[in-house]
């Protein structure tokens, strides 16, 4: 009898605990937020925020397609979002719960509508470019003062890569980023959808692959900052973070980010709510919190990526809004391109091509 009483009491306590501590699970890219914002969200809403990170779209997509991920907010990039919407992974946003949508920047909204028509399923968190990060001193040491640091030739010309290999090169392990750049370099459409055109990049990439120390999508931040490598082909904000870490460490490594003059991939990381999110209500609150002008500005000031929030721009630090590597000028922006997802058959061939390029098999 007493045991039963204890059990009832315990059950009641558990239920109360569950109701009292509302939770929201957010799954975002690594090194991609000012942690102070997370504390601020908890303070403002009283919702416990559980924050978890990933470093590749593929990992996120696998969790989404498996279903029951347990996350309330996730951050896929444009073309991945498009495919996941098609698979039914996300729920439509309840825009009545998102008054801060008014802060969003129409220029970016128009571009993201390509992946998510009408921006029904997602809001833009950050956007950026994929380009060239260099350790200025080391690159000039091996390539001379007039090294083509703002050209795709730095990466795709084997003569340059052969020399750069002596001080180390990392390249994103993401065919969706590198293949469009290689297509651009050889003068093809970077958004080519047929495998015959895509296959034209094979000789270009095969020629440089032996000179790439590692294909990886997050290690280059530290490797560049520590001076382990002298060049990385990666995401703008990551390279700018490496720049700041190197400056903090005061190790003599001077890092620069360059948008290739031939043009660069413009990508968008979109916040969306999974169809089976345990707490969609709290998820909307989080999205609205992020779209607050000051919060969006705080996030960008910390991670050095541009955001899709027009109202936030007055709160951005000068070294963010004034840096053309982050907010490119009109001329550079006109040269940026976007891509759309390959169909499954082409995707398989591309992955196979990518493996062949990397491992020679």
């Amino acid at each position: 009898m007493r045991l039963r009483k204890t059990m009832v009491a315990a059950a009641a306590l558990l239920a109360a605990g569950a109701a009292g501590a509302e939770e929201v699970h957010v799954y975002n890219w690594s090194d991609y937020i000012d942690e102070a914002l997370l504390a601020k969200f908890e303070e403002e809403t009283g919702i416990k925020l559980i924050y978890d990170v990933f470093d590749s779209n593929e990992i996120l997509e696998t969790k989404m397609l498996a279903g029951a991920s347990g996350y309330d907010v996730v951050v896929p990039s444009g073309s991945f979002l498009q495919r996941q919407v098609q698979a039914g992974a996300f729920q439509k946003l309840d825009k009545s719960k998102l008054p801060n949508l008014a802060n969003m920047w129409d220029v970016i909204q128009e571009r993201t509508a390509k992946y998510d028509p009408g921006n029904e399923y997602s809001i833009n968190y950050m956007w950026g470019t994929t380009g060239i990060g260099i350790n200025v001193g080391k690159v000039k040491e091996v390539l001379g003062e007039d090294a083509p640091v703002n050209s795709l030739a730095l990466l795709f010309d084997p003569a340059n890569m052969e020399k750069l290999a002596t001080c180390g090169v990392h390249v994103l392990d993401a065919p969706t980023e590198i293949i469009p750049a290689a297509l651009k370099y050889i003068g093809e459409d970077p958004d080519a959808q047929d495998i015959e055109t895509i296959a034209k990049v094979e000789p270009v990439l095969t020629a440089i692959a032996p000179h790439v120390l590692k294909f990886h999508s997050s290690e280059y931040i530290n490797a560049l900052a520590n001076g382990d490598i002298c060049m990385a082909f990666g995401w703008s904000g990551d390279i700018l973070q490496a720049r700041d870490r190197a400056a903090e460490a005061n190790n003599g490594a001077e890092i620069e980010y360059h948008i290739p003059k031939e043009g660069a991939l413009m990508w968008f990381d979109q916040m969306a709510i999974p169809a089976d999110a345990p707490n969609p209500d709290a998820a909307h609150k989080f999205l609205n919190f992020i779209m607050d002008a000051q919060n969006a500005a705080a996030a960008s000031n910390y991670v050095y990526y541009a955001n899709g929030n027009k109202a936030s721009q007055e709160f951005l630090n000068e070294d963010v809004i004034g840096d053309t590597a982050i907010y490119p000028d009109a001329e550079t922006t006109a040269n940026l391109y976007t891509t759309s997802p390959w169909d499954p058959k082409v995707n398989r061939d591309v992955t196979r091509l990518w493996t062949k390029i990397k491992s020679g098999t």
Partner: protein
């Protein structure tokens, strides 16, 4: 009494069924299905609400296409062979490193042995992942190893070890070393010292006595250790992905690509099924060896 016996026998079989056969069945089923853009990303899925017709429709949708696909592309066979090579070489190196350590431990005075044993086990108190990551700090271009070698003047240019197969071998040997030391130590510890004395009395040199007496008697430990290293090394994913480079082709990584980059769960499952079949051979050999040992012990 009979019921108790039945229960005792049934327990391991139930364990095997729930934690091996059922998951294997699920993976095998996915290997027979086809890729689709949906949740979950394959078709057909079993729809029990349609009753028997649903089951029939489901069975009709299954085929062995993914297995024939594996045979059609040289990538998979190369990845299997390369994994076999890396696992075999690292097992051999582990043995070379572990045997002297185990031998030394077995020769040590009785009161030292628990401490030495403790030292072998101690690294397990730190997460495996952290231990592998710490090798990045040791092996990288600006890492400890290169700094020491350059400071002592042995080399003038930093060695490129990280992100090569060499780093993978170092990682595997380091990680699995205790699994080799412990069974060899267990075998050597039981060794009757008077057998070696007898061999020496009968004219053997110390080296001859080692090869004629000590090593053959430690063989069960050596074999057990080799299997304990070889089997997990074959399917290793974490070490090659953290320490390895572009040249490192291992089946664990290929499987990861199929699953994550291609989102093709059916082909990934087919790769997993084949990997398992490949692993079953050494596992059965290992079981047999154990059994023989037990019989010899009786």
């Amino acid at each position: 009494m009979n019921l108790r016996r039945l229960f005792l026998i049934a327990t391991p079989y139930a364990w095997l069924a729930f934690f091996f056969l059922v998951p294997f069945g699920i993976v095998f089923k996915i290997a027979l299905s086809d890729y689709a853009i949906s949740i979950p990303p394959y078709t057909p899925t079993l729809d029990l609400s349609q009753g028997w017709a649903g089951v029939k429709e489901f069975l009709d949708g299954l085929d062995f296409e993914n297995f024939t696909f594996l045979a059609s592309d040289a990538l998979y066979i190369k990845a299997y062979l390369s994994s076999l090579k890396i696992a075999a070489i690292s097992t051999f190196i582990t043995l070379l490193v572990a045997y002297p350590i185990a031998y030394g431990m077995a020769q040590a005075p009785d009161e030292w042995r628990p401490t030495l044993m403790m030292l072998v086990i101690l690294p397990f108190w730190t997460s495996f992942l952290i231990r592998v990551y710490s090798w990045i700090g040791i092996l990288s271009g600006e890492g400890f190893l290169n700094q020491i070698l350059m400071w002592t003047g042995i080399i003038s240019q930093p060695l490129t070890i990280l992100n090569t197969n060499t780093a993978v071998y170092i990682g595997i040997v380091y990680t699995y070393l205790p699994f080799m030391i412990l069974p060899i130590y267990a075998a050597l510890e039981k060794l009757d010292i008077s057998l070696i004395e007898a061999a020496e009395d009968l004219g053997c040199t110390r080296i001859q006595a080692f090869w004629l007496v000590t090593f053959p008697l430690s063989r069960p430990g050596v074999i057990a250790g080799c299997f304990l290293v070889f089997i997990p090394a074959l399917g290793e994913f974490v070490i090659p992905s953290i320490l390895g480079g572009n040249e490192t082709l291992m089946i664990g990584k290929t499987l990861y690509d199929e699953f994550f980059a291609n989102r093709d769960w059916p082909v990934a499952s087919a790769v997993a099924v084949v990997l398992l079949l490949l692993l079953i051979v050494p596992i059965i050999l290992f079981q047999r060896n154990e059994q023989k040992q037990r019989e010899a012990g009786l």
